[in-house]
Every structure is written in C-alpha cells, then in structure tokens.
C-alpha cells in the first residue's frame, strides 16, 4: 500500500513509551527506586518514617535550587553563586527579623536581595556579554562576604517577634505530616515544569540553549530572557535560604558552602545538558533525590563518610556517560 505524503507528515515517530525509555530522567527514577528497595531490605534503619522524613527534607533544599538552576543550564549558562546567595538571603532575613521587623518584611527584603543579585548577574552576562562562569564566580565570593558584613560573622538564632512563625514555616508539617519544605518543593517543581513546557518563555529558553544566534534572528528577546533566568536562579536560592532558616532555627555564615556543586550535579544527573538546550523539572528533583539517597545509604551501610564524594562524583560521570552512549548510537 502506498503511503501518502499526508500520512507521512502526520506520523508520530515516538510513542509515549519509547520517549520515556529514552529519557535519562526515567532511568534515574528507576535507579532511585532500586536503591530504596535494596536499602529497605539490606538495613533496618532505612525504611523508618524518621529516616524517610529526613531524606525527603534534606533533598528539598538542593532540589529547589536545582529547579532554578535548570532554567539557567537550559540556556547554556551556569550559576555558581547560588550557595552564597542562599547564605546571604538567609542572613538578610535573620538580621531583619532579629532587628524587630515582622516575618513579611523579612521575607520581602530577602527576596528583593535575591532578585537584585540575579538581575546584576543577568545584566552583566546578557548585555555586557561576560562569561556566566566568571560573573557568578565573582558573585559567589561577594554574596558570602556581604552575609558576613550583614551579621558581623555571628550566628543569628533569635528572630524577633515573629520567631515562632518563621520556625513553623520551615520546620512544620501542615499537610498529612509531610514536612513543609517538601510541599514547597513539590509546588515549585510543578510550577517549573509548567513554565518550561507550556509557556512561550519556556520555549524561548530552550531555543536560546539550542542556538542563540537563531533565537536572535527569529526575534526571540534573548537578552531579557537571559536576565530573567539568572533572576529565577537567585530567587530559588533565596527561597531555599528562607525555608532553611525556618527549619534550622539558626543562621551561620557558612551555610550553603559548596552547595552550588551539589545543585549542578543534581541537574546534570537528572538529565540537563551543560551545553544547553536540554533539561526538565522532574530531572532536577530526582537528581537531587539520587544524590541524597546515595549519601544517606553510605551512612546506613556503615561505609566511611570519606567515600561520599567518590560515589556522588561517580554518579555524575555515569549519568553523562549514558548520555554519550545514546549519542554515539544515534550517530552510527
């Protein structure tokens, strides 16, 4: 039977199943599930509600920032400043509330700080064409230093009149006993997924990562979008900082140190491509989950904590290796 042109054009080459099986995110989800099953059987302490509660909550801070980082990485950029921005925003919140202001003011000032930093990074990168690596590396240093200046490098653990509200916000479990940070993470993941898939903004982010020159030629507002993604990244770090402050009940100037690497690792393990053009919200979350499960399991299995870095680094390299193998097969 002859196939007409219209039939060829209407043909879908990929079914839902084939697309799922070829996605890195899917295999990372499988890896997380297998690891959890194995640990439940191999140890008595993994599948306890306390440990699960711990894991899910630990995942959230990295995952929330990884969601913001996903936007940046899809455009082909990188944001190394998120760990320090988290610290600065926590400290701004803490110092403001410690000085007697309410929780709304504290959070407002903290979010404003994040947006200003993101805008600064973004403008330098988009309009003055600085390399993202350099700008955000500089900001990594600047933001942590500002946090030290703001607090005179002290630990802040008293948050003024709204002290209890802040602790409830970050440390409570308002719905079905699920830790609040987990709820925030789920909400933000849904919002990120929606933005990437269903909005013009999301589409343009992918276009910039795929071919920035083409995006410019076809009239995509490349510069404005680049500023926006760095603001989103800083905002996600700020939000994680606010939530973490409420959860920890104290802020020091070394929180979030080295976190940028965990965040970038989570997005890459989840399937984002540092060259740009590829990435998902679910990937960022499951990438963060895999890292945390690895970390947690090493402790439970009684393996020396010094090995953590080796395993997490191995996971990063393995994740990218699968991507390379798929590409080799395609180019054959």
């Amino acid at each position: 039977m002859a196939v007409t042109l219209d039939q060829t054009i209407a043909q879908k080459q990929h079914t839902f199943l084939s697309r799922m099986l070829s996605s890195q995110t899917f295999w990372v989800v499988i890896a997380v599930i297998l690891a959890c099953l194995f640990l439940s059987l191999a140890t008595d302490s993994f599948a306890t509600s306390k440990n699960i509660f711990n894991i899910t909550r630990n995942v959230t801070f990295v995952a929330i920032i990884a969601l913001g980082m996903t936007f940046v990485i899809i455009t082909g950029g990188i944001d190394l400043s998120v760990g320090s921005v988290l610290c600065l925003c926590s400290m701004v919140l803490a110092v403001t509330m410690h000085a007697g202001y309410g929780i709304v003011t504290g959070i407002g000032v903290s979010i404003a700080t994040a947006l200003i930093i993101g805008a600064f990074n973004g403008v330098l990168i988009a309009y003055l064409e600085f390399p993202p690596f350099v700008v955000t590396l500089g900001m990594l240093s600047v933001a942590r230093s500002l946090a030290m200046v703001a607090s005179n490098n002290t630990v802040v653990f008293q948050f003024g009149p709204d002290h209890d509200k802040l602790l409830a916000l970050g440390g409570g479990a308002w719905v079905f006993g699920i830790a609040n940070p987990v709820l925030y993470m789920i909400l933000l993941a849904l919002l990120t997924g929606f933005t990437l898939r269903w909005t013009k903004f999301g589409r343009h982010i992918f276009a910039i990562g795929g071919n920035e020159h083409a995006a410019t030629l076809t009239g995509v507002p490349v510069r404005q979008i680049k500023v926006a993604v760095y603001m989103i990244s800083a905002l996600s770090a700020g939000l994680a900082g606010i939530i973490q402050t409420g959860w920890l009940g104290a802020v020091t100037t070394n929180i979030g140190t080295g976190m940028e690497l965990q965040v970038i690792a989570a997005t890459v393990i989840g399937g984002a491509n540092l060259a740009g053009g590829v990435g998902t919200a679910l990937g960022a979350v499951v990438g963060a989950a895999l890292i945390e499960v690895i970390r947690n399991s090493l402790g439970l299995l009684g393996i020396n904590a010094f090995w953590q870095g080796t395993f997490i680094g191995g996971a990063i390299i393995l994740a990218v290796l699968f991507d390379r193998i798929r590409n080799f097969r395609r180019s054959d």
Binding site: Q13, H14, R203
Partner: protein
C-alpha cells in the same frame, strides 16, 4: 505592478563602495537568481532589502509606497522574509517549534495563556504538505536531512503572508538529491505568487529554477536578463569580467 522596486541604491562602508547605483524590480511570482563573485555586493544588497542595513543612497519602493526599514522585524512586517544561509534552526526543538519560533501560537484567556501545541503541529504539517516535503512536525530538527531542514526554514517564511522571500545560498552545503528538493520548494513558493530572490554560486541551480538572472560585479549590476535569453557561458563571463556588461 512590481512588488519591490529598487532605484539607484548605493551602500558604502567608509571608503568601501559595496553596492553602487543598483536598480531593479521584482514581480510577484518571479524567481530571480542573484549571482556574482565573493565581494560583488550580493549579500549587502540583500541585507538592505531585509532591513539589516540602510542604503546610503537611493530608494526602495514596495507596492508603489516608499519603503524605509530600520531593522529586520520591520521588513518582516512588510512581508519580506529571509532564509539565512545557516538556516537559523534550533536542533533541540521540533520542526513545528522551529517554524513558529518567536511567533508561537497560544490559547487561553488574558495572562493565562499556554502554548497551543495542537494548532502549531497542524499548521506546520499543512505547510510541509504544501511544500511537498516529507517532514514531520513532531520530529526534532537534529535528526533531519539537509532538505528537510531547508523545508523547515522555508515553512517559516510562509506563516505570514510573505510577498518576498530572500534565500541566501540555500543549496551550498547539501547533497545532490536534496538540491532538487530545495529547488522544488522554491517553485512552490513561486506558484503561490511569492517573489523569490535566490543568491547562489551554483550556475545549474539558477538556470534550473530562476526566471531572470541579475549579475553583480564589484558593487555594480552588470546584467539583468531573462534566463531564456542568456547562457551559463555568458553569465560566467559577466561574473569574472570577461564580458564587461550586457543590456
């Protein structure tokens, strides 16, 4: 009535005279081959029509109204579309996404508007069918042949009611079979009443598809004649300067 009329157009960059006193007209449904050696001024001329450069002297008229372009977006609003030499495609997006890049369709109310995937797939599919190209709207451009990629870039020009399509070396880097495909795409544009300007180095392509050939040498127009009354030998002579000029 001509779609586009260029009168005594010149462009200089400092002391360099890139285009010198060029006049010609474009009719609807006509394919014009624009030929010349490197540095003859073809690209500069096309970039003025596409709104990238403003002419130093001379005027452009479209449908008997003076046409002044400050940027490429304005050219697009006037129905002038360009297919860039590198096609300006995003490999990580689908064919439909590339066709609609920068002018995505959305549905919904007020600020709550989401991308209308179904409508974009459907319209892109119709455009590929019109172009008689076996290109699937849902496929990633990354996996496509050179001819299909051309079809995607050309379909983009058909979204709005284009009057003029400028094509910069569309057959320079693709296989022989795909060249035939691209020339067919050009004929389909012509059949819809669109004026096509084809910049090319390839003599057989121009003689295959064009109705008229304009030859430029060192910024000047040295020939503007029907394909039927010219020959590859004559055009080669004009490009190299062996033949000074023909009427």
């Amino acid at each position: 009535m001509s779609v586009l009329e260029l009168a005594n157009i010149s462009k200089h960059f400092g002391a360099i005279q890139a285009v010198n006193d060029v006049s010609f007209t474009l009719q609807a449904g006509e394919v014009v081959g624009l030929m010349g050696d490197n540095g003859a001024g073809k690209s500069t001329l096309v970039k003025m029509i596409a709104g990238n450069f403003r002419p130093s002297h001379g005027t452009m008229r479209m449908d008997d109204k003076e046409l002044i372009l400050h940027k490429p977006a304005e050219a697009r609003q006037h129905g002038i579309e360009i297919v860039h030499q590198d096609l300006a495609l995003c490999n990580n997006l689908t064919a439909a996404a590339n066709v609609y890049l920068g002018r995505e369709l959305r549905r919904g109310v007020g600020p709550f508007r989401i991308l209308d995937y179904a409508a974009m797939y459907k319209r892109a599919g119709q455009l590929f069918a019109e172009l008689k190209s076996e290109t699937r709207p849902r496929d990633l451009v990354k996996q496509m042949s050179g001819g299909q990629r051309q079809a995607v870039a050309i379909a983009r020009t058909m979204l709005s009611q284009a009057k003029i399509v400028l094509m910069d070396e569309p057959t320079a880097a693709i296989s022989v079979r795909q060249v035939a495909e691209v020339l067919n795409l050009i004929r389909h544009l012509r059949d819809q009443g669109i004026a096509v300007v084809l910049i090319s180095h390839r003599m057989p392509d121009v003689f295959d598809v064009a109705d008229r050939v304009i030859v430029m040498r060192r910024g000047r127009k040295v020939a503007d004649k029907k394909i039927a009354s010219s020959s590859p030998e004559e055009v080669t002579g004009l490009i190299t300067g062996a033949i000074e000029q023909v009427a």
